[in-house]
Subunit: 216 residues, 2 copies
Protein backbone atom coordinates (compact mmCIF):
# COMPACT_ATOMS: atom_id res chain seq x y z
CA UNK A 1 0.00 0.00 0.00
CA UNK A 2 1.57 3.26 -1.14
CA UNK A 3 -0.33 6.03 0.63
CA UNK A 4 1.22 8.67 -1.65
CA UNK A 5 -1.02 7.29 -4.41
CA UNK A 6 -3.90 9.01 -2.62
CA UNK A 7 -2.18 12.40 -2.94
CA UNK A 8 -2.63 12.28 -6.71
CA UNK A 9 -6.38 12.82 -6.35
CA UNK A 10 -7.31 16.34 -7.43
CA UNK A 11 -8.69 18.53 -4.65
CA UNK A 12 -9.57 22.19 -4.34
CA UNK A 13 -9.46 24.64 -1.45
CA UNK A 14 -12.77 25.81 -0.04
CA UNK A 15 -14.02 28.01 2.81
CA UNK A 16 -16.99 26.43 4.55
CA UNK A 17 -19.20 28.59 6.77
CA UNK A 18 -22.42 28.33 8.70
CA UNK A 19 -24.51 30.07 11.34
CA UNK A 20 -26.76 28.84 14.11
CA UNK A 21 -28.57 30.99 16.71
CA UNK A 22 -26.41 33.98 15.75
CA UNK A 23 -23.13 32.07 16.19
CA UNK A 24 -21.10 32.09 12.96
CA UNK A 25 -18.03 30.07 12.09
CA UNK A 26 -16.00 28.84 9.15
CA UNK A 27 -13.16 26.48 8.29
CA UNK A 28 -11.24 25.33 5.24
CA UNK A 29 -11.97 22.02 3.55
CA UNK A 30 -10.49 20.37 0.48
CA UNK A 31 -13.38 18.16 -0.58
CA UNK A 32 -16.42 19.54 -2.37
CA UNK A 33 -18.11 17.67 -5.20
CA UNK A 34 -21.24 18.14 -7.19
CA UNK A 35 -22.99 14.78 -6.81
CA UNK A 36 -26.11 15.28 -8.92
CA UNK A 37 -27.41 17.86 -11.36
CA UNK A 38 -31.14 17.25 -10.90
CA UNK A 39 -31.65 18.24 -8.16
CA UNK A 40 -28.39 20.16 -7.88
CA UNK A 41 -26.59 18.63 -4.94
CA UNK A 42 -23.07 18.71 -3.59
CA UNK A 43 -21.17 16.71 -0.98
CA UNK A 44 -18.58 17.94 1.51
CA UNK A 45 -16.62 16.13 4.21
CA UNK A 46 -15.71 17.84 7.47
CA UNK A 47 -13.57 16.66 10.38
CA UNK A 48 -15.96 15.90 13.24
CA UNK A 49 -13.74 17.74 15.73
CA UNK A 50 -14.18 20.99 13.81
CA UNK A 51 -16.45 23.54 15.45
CA UNK A 52 -17.98 24.21 12.02
CA UNK A 53 -19.06 20.56 11.86
CA UNK A 54 -20.75 20.88 15.25
CA UNK A 55 -22.62 23.98 14.06
CA UNK A 56 -23.71 22.44 10.74
CA UNK A 57 -25.13 19.44 12.62
CA UNK A 58 -27.47 21.97 14.28
CA UNK A 59 -28.03 24.45 11.43
CA UNK A 60 -28.39 21.93 8.54
CA UNK A 61 -27.12 24.55 6.11
CA UNK A 62 -23.82 26.01 4.95
CA UNK A 63 -22.15 28.25 2.44
CA UNK A 64 -19.03 27.19 0.60
CA UNK A 65 -16.68 29.56 -1.21
CA UNK A 66 -14.32 28.32 -3.91
CA UNK A 67 -10.90 29.84 -3.25
CA UNK A 68 -9.05 31.57 -6.10
CA UNK A 69 -5.61 30.52 -7.31
CA UNK A 70 -4.61 34.13 -6.57
CA UNK A 71 -5.87 34.07 -2.97
CA UNK A 72 -3.69 35.27 -0.13
CA UNK A 73 -2.41 32.38 1.96
CA UNK A 74 -3.38 34.50 4.96
CA UNK A 75 -7.06 34.15 4.10
CA UNK A 76 -6.72 30.36 3.99
CA UNK A 77 -4.74 30.34 7.24
CA UNK A 78 -7.36 32.59 8.86
CA UNK A 79 -10.04 29.94 8.39
CA UNK A 80 -7.82 26.88 8.58
CA UNK A 81 -5.49 27.28 11.49
CA UNK A 82 -7.58 28.25 14.48
CA UNK A 83 -10.80 27.07 16.08
CA UNK A 84 -14.01 29.06 16.23
CA UNK A 85 -14.29 27.83 19.81
CA UNK A 86 -11.40 30.16 20.66
CA UNK A 87 -11.68 33.05 18.23
CA UNK A 88 -14.38 34.91 16.30
CA UNK A 89 -13.22 34.32 12.72
CA UNK A 90 -15.65 36.93 11.38
CA UNK A 91 -14.47 39.75 13.64
CA UNK A 92 -12.16 41.25 11.01
CA UNK A 93 -13.25 39.29 7.94
CA UNK A 94 -15.70 40.86 5.49
CA UNK A 95 -18.77 38.74 4.69
CA UNK A 96 -22.28 39.00 3.36
CA UNK A 97 -25.33 37.07 4.55
CA UNK A 98 -27.03 34.76 2.07
CA UNK A 99 -30.74 33.88 2.05
CA UNK A 100 -30.07 31.09 4.55
CA UNK A 101 -28.32 33.58 6.86
CA UNK A 102 -24.91 31.95 6.32
CA UNK A 103 -21.93 34.34 6.42
CA UNK A 104 -20.51 34.13 2.89
CA UNK A 105 -16.83 34.90 2.25
CA UNK A 106 -16.21 36.49 -1.15
CA UNK A 107 -12.69 37.86 -0.52
CA UNK A 108 -10.10 35.84 -2.48
CA UNK A 109 -12.83 33.55 -3.87
CA UNK A 110 -14.25 32.93 -7.34
CA UNK A 111 -17.69 31.47 -6.62
CA UNK A 112 -20.02 30.77 -3.70
CA UNK A 113 -22.74 28.21 -3.06
CA UNK A 114 -25.57 28.35 -0.51
CA UNK A 115 -26.64 24.88 0.56
CA UNK A 116 -29.28 23.07 2.63
CA UNK A 117 -28.23 19.72 4.12
CA UNK A 118 -30.39 16.79 2.98
CA UNK A 119 -28.28 13.87 4.23
CA UNK A 120 -25.66 13.48 6.94
CA UNK A 121 -23.37 10.44 6.70
CA UNK A 122 -21.19 9.32 9.60
CA UNK A 123 -17.72 8.41 8.31
CA UNK A 124 -15.97 7.90 11.64
CA UNK A 125 -13.45 10.75 11.91
CA UNK A 126 -15.45 12.89 9.46
CA UNK A 127 -19.03 13.68 8.58
CA UNK A 128 -20.17 13.84 5.00
CA UNK A 129 -22.97 16.29 4.29
CA UNK A 130 -24.98 15.99 1.10
CA UNK A 131 -26.79 19.24 0.41
CA UNK A 132 -29.05 20.90 -2.08
CA UNK A 133 -27.62 24.02 -3.71
CA UNK A 134 -30.24 26.74 -3.28
CA UNK A 135 -28.10 29.50 -4.74
CA UNK A 136 -24.86 29.70 -6.67
CA UNK A 137 -22.91 32.83 -7.56
CA UNK A 138 -19.91 33.27 -9.82
CA UNK A 139 -17.75 36.18 -8.64
CA UNK A 140 -15.05 36.43 -11.30
CA UNK A 141 -13.18 34.43 -13.94
CA UNK A 142 -10.06 33.59 -11.94
CA UNK A 143 -8.93 29.97 -11.72
CA UNK A 144 -9.68 27.87 -8.64
CA UNK A 145 -6.82 27.02 -6.32
CA UNK A 146 -6.07 23.31 -6.32
CA UNK A 147 -4.82 21.69 -3.16
CA UNK A 148 -1.66 20.63 -5.03
CA UNK A 149 -0.97 24.27 -5.97
CA UNK A 150 -1.64 25.40 -2.40
CA UNK A 151 0.86 22.80 -1.19
CA UNK A 152 3.40 23.96 -3.77
CA UNK A 153 2.92 27.55 -2.61
CA UNK A 154 3.42 26.55 1.01
CA UNK A 155 6.54 24.56 0.20
CA UNK A 156 7.96 27.30 -1.99
CA UNK A 157 7.96 25.12 -5.09
CA UNK A 158 6.03 27.79 -6.96
CA UNK A 159 5.71 31.50 -6.43
CA UNK A 160 2.34 33.17 -6.47
CA UNK A 161 2.12 35.96 -9.00
CA UNK A 162 -0.12 38.90 -8.27
CA UNK A 163 -1.95 40.56 -11.13
CA UNK A 164 0.83 43.13 -11.37
CA UNK A 165 3.36 40.28 -11.46
CA UNK A 166 5.00 41.27 -8.18
CA UNK A 167 6.24 38.30 -6.23
CA UNK A 168 4.01 37.26 -3.39
CA UNK A 169 5.08 38.33 0.03
CA UNK A 170 4.27 34.89 1.34
CA UNK A 171 7.21 33.04 -0.18
CA UNK A 172 10.36 33.20 1.86
CA UNK A 173 12.50 30.14 1.37
CA UNK A 174 12.23 26.48 0.50
CA UNK A 175 12.35 24.31 3.58
CA UNK A 176 11.04 20.88 4.48
CA UNK A 177 7.29 20.99 4.84
CA UNK A 178 5.21 18.53 6.81
CA UNK A 179 1.50 17.90 6.45
CA UNK A 180 -0.92 16.06 8.72
CA UNK A 181 -2.23 13.00 6.89
CA UNK A 182 -5.58 13.17 8.68
CA UNK A 183 -6.73 16.80 8.45
CA UNK A 184 -4.16 18.12 5.92
CA UNK A 185 -2.91 20.85 8.25
CA UNK A 186 0.44 22.04 6.94
CA UNK A 187 2.90 22.79 9.73
CA UNK A 188 4.32 26.25 9.30
CA UNK A 189 5.97 27.09 12.59
CA UNK A 190 9.35 28.78 12.91
CA UNK A 191 11.00 25.72 14.44
CA UNK A 192 11.90 23.01 11.93
CA UNK A 193 9.36 20.21 12.14
CA UNK A 194 12.08 17.63 12.88
CA UNK A 195 13.10 19.63 15.95
CA UNK A 196 9.61 19.69 17.49
CA UNK A 197 9.18 17.62 20.67
CA UNK A 198 8.05 14.00 20.26
CA UNK A 199 4.76 14.75 21.99
CA UNK A 200 3.87 17.46 19.44
CA UNK A 201 0.30 16.98 18.26
CA UNK A 202 -1.55 18.39 15.29
CA UNK A 203 -3.24 21.61 16.50
CA UNK A 204 -6.27 20.90 14.35
CA UNK A 205 -7.11 17.20 14.73
CA UNK A 206 -4.82 16.30 17.67
CA UNK A 207 -3.07 13.41 15.89
CA UNK A 208 0.51 12.65 16.98
CA UNK A 209 3.65 13.89 15.25
CA UNK A 210 3.89 10.49 13.52
CA UNK A 211 0.73 11.26 11.54
CA UNK A 212 2.66 13.94 9.62
CA UNK A 213 4.43 13.21 6.35
CA UNK A 214 7.06 15.20 4.50
CA UNK A 215 5.53 16.93 1.48
CA UNK A 216 8.47 18.15 -0.58
CA UNK B 1 -28.68 30.86 -9.53
CA UNK B 2 -25.61 30.85 -11.75
CA UNK B 3 -24.95 27.21 -12.63
CA UNK B 4 -21.52 28.09 -14.02
CA UNK B 5 -20.43 28.64 -10.41
CA UNK B 6 -20.48 24.86 -10.04
CA UNK B 7 -17.94 24.47 -12.84
CA UNK B 8 -15.29 26.13 -10.70
CA UNK B 9 -15.11 23.08 -8.43
CA UNK B 10 -11.87 21.20 -9.01
CA UNK B 11 -12.35 17.70 -10.44
CA UNK B 12 -10.02 15.07 -11.82
CA UNK B 13 -10.41 12.41 -14.50
CA UNK B 14 -10.54 8.79 -13.36
CA UNK B 15 -11.06 5.36 -14.94
CA UNK B 16 -13.36 3.23 -12.80
CA UNK B 17 -13.41 -0.54 -13.37
CA UNK B 18 -14.96 -3.61 -11.80
CA UNK B 19 -15.62 -7.29 -12.44
CA UNK B 20 -18.44 -9.63 -11.53
CA UNK B 21 -18.81 -13.28 -12.55
CA UNK B 22 -16.08 -12.84 -15.17
CA UNK B 23 -17.77 -9.79 -16.76
CA UNK B 24 -15.45 -6.76 -16.69
CA UNK B 25 -16.27 -3.16 -17.45
CA UNK B 26 -15.02 0.36 -16.92
CA UNK B 27 -16.09 3.97 -17.37
CA UNK B 28 -14.71 7.44 -16.72
CA UNK B 29 -15.78 9.47 -13.72
CA UNK B 30 -14.73 12.90 -12.50
CA UNK B 31 -15.45 12.57 -8.79
CA UNK B 32 -13.17 10.66 -6.46
CA UNK B 33 -12.39 11.89 -2.97
CA UNK B 34 -10.56 10.49 -0.01
CA UNK B 35 -13.14 10.82 2.77
CA UNK B 36 -11.24 9.45 5.79
CA UNK B 37 -7.67 8.48 6.57
CA UNK B 38 -8.36 5.96 9.35
CA UNK B 39 -9.63 3.71 7.89
CA UNK B 40 -8.56 4.85 4.46
CA UNK B 41 -11.78 5.39 2.55
CA UNK B 42 -12.74 7.10 -0.66
CA UNK B 43 -16.03 8.12 -2.26
CA UNK B 44 -17.02 8.01 -5.92
CA UNK B 45 -20.26 8.94 -7.69
CA UNK B 46 -21.44 7.04 -10.75
CA UNK B 47 -24.38 7.66 -13.06
CA UNK B 48 -26.94 4.94 -12.32
CA UNK B 49 -27.50 4.28 -16.01
CA UNK B 50 -23.86 3.28 -16.44
CA UNK B 51 -23.23 -0.43 -16.88
CA UNK B 52 -20.27 -0.10 -14.50
CA UNK B 53 -22.66 1.11 -11.80
CA UNK B 54 -24.85 -1.94 -12.34
CA UNK B 55 -21.83 -4.23 -12.00
CA UNK B 56 -20.47 -2.51 -8.85
CA UNK B 57 -23.88 -2.90 -7.20
CA UNK B 58 -23.30 -6.65 -7.58
CA UNK B 59 -19.51 -6.88 -7.10
CA UNK B 60 -19.18 -4.38 -4.21
CA UNK B 61 -15.61 -3.62 -5.29
CA UNK B 62 -13.83 -1.49 -7.86
CA UNK B 63 -10.50 -0.20 -9.02
CA UNK B 64 -9.95 3.43 -9.85
CA UNK B 65 -7.03 4.77 -11.92
CA UNK B 66 -5.99 8.41 -11.70
CA UNK B 67 -5.47 9.66 -15.26
CA UNK B 68 -2.25 11.48 -16.13
CA UNK B 69 -2.14 15.02 -17.51
CA UNK B 70 -0.21 13.48 -20.42
CA UNK B 71 -2.84 10.84 -21.16
CA UNK B 72 -4.08 10.29 -24.68
CA UNK B 73 -7.61 11.60 -25.15
CA UNK B 74 -8.30 8.32 -26.93
CA UNK B 75 -7.86 6.38 -23.69
CA UNK B 76 -10.39 8.62 -21.96
CA UNK B 77 -12.78 8.35 -24.91
CA UNK B 78 -12.35 4.55 -24.91
CA UNK B 79 -13.81 4.31 -21.42
CA UNK B 80 -16.09 7.33 -21.56
CA UNK B 81 -17.96 7.26 -24.81
CA UNK B 82 -19.41 3.80 -25.21
CA UNK B 83 -21.33 1.37 -23.05
CA UNK B 84 -19.99 -1.97 -21.84
CA UNK B 85 -23.43 -3.34 -22.67
CA UNK B 86 -22.49 -2.95 -26.36
CA UNK B 87 -18.72 -3.40 -26.47
CA UNK B 88 -16.00 -5.26 -24.56
CA UNK B 89 -13.84 -2.34 -23.39
CA UNK B 90 -11.05 -4.69 -22.33
CA UNK B 91 -10.73 -6.44 -25.68
CA UNK B 92 -7.83 -4.29 -26.87
CA UNK B 93 -6.97 -2.49 -23.65
CA UNK B 94 -4.08 -3.74 -21.50
CA UNK B 95 -4.90 -4.36 -17.84
CA UNK B 96 -3.72 -6.27 -14.82
CA UNK B 97 -5.87 -7.98 -12.21
CA UNK B 98 -5.64 -6.72 -8.64
CA UNK B 99 -6.18 -8.87 -5.52
CA UNK B 100 -9.93 -8.21 -5.77
CA UNK B 101 -9.91 -9.45 -9.37
CA UNK B 102 -10.68 -5.98 -10.76
CA UNK B 103 -9.16 -5.18 -14.17
CA UNK B 104 -6.78 -2.31 -13.43
CA UNK B 105 -5.84 0.17 -16.15
CA UNK B 106 -2.29 1.51 -15.80
CA UNK B 107 -1.86 2.93 -19.33
CA UNK B 108 -1.90 6.76 -19.24
CA UNK B 109 -2.43 6.73 -15.46
CA UNK B 110 -0.32 7.83 -12.49
CA UNK B 111 -1.80 5.82 -9.60
CA UNK B 112 -4.36 3.09 -8.94
CA UNK B 113 -6.54 2.19 -5.97
CA UNK B 114 -8.24 -1.13 -5.20
CA UNK B 115 -11.40 -0.64 -3.18
CA UNK B 116 -14.10 -2.59 -1.34
CA UNK B 117 -17.52 -0.90 -1.10
CA UNK B 118 -18.68 -0.32 2.48
CA UNK B 119 -21.64 1.99 1.83
CA UNK B 120 -23.91 2.66 -1.12
CA UNK B 121 -25.89 5.91 -1.11
CA UNK B 122 -28.78 6.53 -3.47
CA UNK B 123 -28.54 10.05 -4.92
CA UNK B 124 -31.32 9.84 -7.49
CA UNK B 125 -29.59 9.98 -10.88
CA UNK B 126 -26.30 8.75 -9.37
CA UNK B 127 -25.07 6.30 -6.76
CA UNK B 128 -22.35 7.24 -4.35
CA UNK B 129 -20.10 4.40 -3.23
CA UNK B 130 -17.99 4.79 -0.13
CA UNK B 131 -15.21 2.22 -0.15
CA UNK B 132 -12.21 1.06 1.83
CA UNK B 133 -8.91 1.29 -0.02
CA UNK B 134 -7.28 -2.15 0.28
CA UNK B 135 -4.36 -1.34 -1.98
CA UNK B 136 -2.87 1.79 -3.52
CA UNK B 137 -0.10 1.98 -6.07
CA UNK B 138 1.80 4.98 -7.41
CA UNK B 139 2.91 4.39 -10.99
CA UNK B 140 4.97 7.48 -11.81
CA UNK B 141 5.45 11.14 -10.91
CA UNK B 142 3.39 12.71 -13.66
CA UNK B 143 0.70 15.24 -12.75
CA UNK B 144 -2.97 14.23 -12.59
CA UNK B 145 -5.28 15.47 -15.33
CA UNK B 146 -7.86 17.90 -13.97
CA UNK B 147 -11.29 17.99 -15.55
CA UNK B 148 -10.71 21.67 -16.39
CA UNK B 149 -7.53 20.76 -18.29
CA UNK B 150 -9.31 17.91 -20.08
CA UNK B 151 -12.02 20.35 -21.14
CA UNK B 152 -9.38 22.83 -22.33
CA UNK B 153 -7.74 20.06 -24.37
CA UNK B 154 -11.06 19.10 -25.93
CA UNK B 155 -11.88 22.70 -26.77
CA UNK B 156 -8.42 23.36 -28.16
CA UNK B 157 -7.70 26.06 -25.59
CA UNK B 158 -4.47 24.31 -24.68
CA UNK B 159 -2.28 21.90 -26.58
CA UNK B 160 -1.04 18.75 -24.98
CA UNK B 161 2.73 18.40 -25.05
CA UNK B 162 4.23 14.97 -25.27
CA UNK B 163 7.49 14.28 -23.46
CA UNK B 164 9.36 14.95 -26.67
CA UNK B 165 7.49 18.26 -27.03
CA UNK B 166 5.77 17.25 -30.23
CA UNK B 167 2.26 18.59 -30.49
CA UNK B 168 -0.46 16.09 -29.69
CA UNK B 169 -2.22 14.64 -32.65
CA UNK B 170 -5.53 15.18 -30.92
CA UNK B 171 -5.73 18.93 -31.41
CA UNK B 172 -7.20 20.00 -34.69
CA UNK B 173 -8.97 23.32 -34.45
CA UNK B 174 -10.84 25.46 -32.00
CA UNK B 175 -14.57 25.10 -32.42
CA UNK B 176 -17.57 25.49 -30.15
CA UNK B 177 -17.71 22.65 -27.68
CA UNK B 178 -20.81 21.50 -25.85
CA UNK B 179 -20.94 19.44 -22.67
CA UNK B 180 -23.80 17.55 -21.07
CA UNK B 181 -24.59 19.14 -17.72
CA UNK B 182 -25.71 15.82 -16.26
CA UNK B 183 -23.02 13.27 -17.14
CA UNK B 184 -20.31 15.65 -18.48
CA UNK B 185 -20.11 13.94 -21.84
CA UNK B 186 -18.39 16.31 -24.24
CA UNK B 187 -19.92 16.23 -27.71
CA UNK B 188 -17.23 15.64 -30.30
CA UNK B 189 -19.06 14.69 -33.45
CA UNK B 190 -18.17 16.01 -36.88
CA UNK B 191 -21.40 17.95 -37.25
CA UNK B 192 -21.50 21.26 -35.35
CA UNK B 193 -23.56 20.83 -32.20
CA UNK B 194 -25.91 23.65 -33.21
CA UNK B 195 -26.77 21.75 -36.40
CA UNK B 196 -27.80 18.55 -34.64
CA UNK B 197 -31.53 17.71 -34.78
CA UNK B 198 -33.70 18.99 -31.94
CA UNK B 199 -34.37 15.46 -30.75
CA UNK B 200 -30.65 14.73 -30.30
CA UNK B 201 -30.08 13.10 -26.93
CA UNK B 202 -26.93 12.58 -24.91
CA UNK B 203 -25.55 9.15 -25.90
CA UNK B 204 -24.43 8.49 -22.33
CA UNK B 205 -27.26 9.61 -20.03
CA UNK B 206 -30.03 10.20 -22.62
CA UNK B 207 -30.78 13.78 -21.57
CA UNK B 208 -32.14 16.11 -24.28
CA UNK B 209 -30.07 18.53 -26.34
CA UNK B 210 -31.19 21.32 -23.99
CA UNK B 211 -29.19 19.73 -21.16
CA UNK B 212 -25.98 20.66 -23.02
CA UNK B 213 -24.14 23.92 -22.38
CA UNK B 214 -21.45 25.62 -24.39
CA UNK B 215 -18.07 25.21 -22.75
CA UNK B 216 -15.78 27.68 -24.50
Amino acid sequence: MDQSALFTITYGVYILTTEVDGKMNGCTINTLSQVTQEPMRVSITVLKKNFTNELIKKSNKFSVSIVSKNASLNTIAHFGYSSGRDVDKFKDMPYILDELNNPVVEKDCIATLSCKVVKDIDLGTHNMFIAEVVNAKKLNNEEPMTYAYYRDLKTGKVEQKKDNEKKSETIEKVKDVYECSVCHYIYDGDIDFEDLPDDYICPICHKPKSAFFKVN
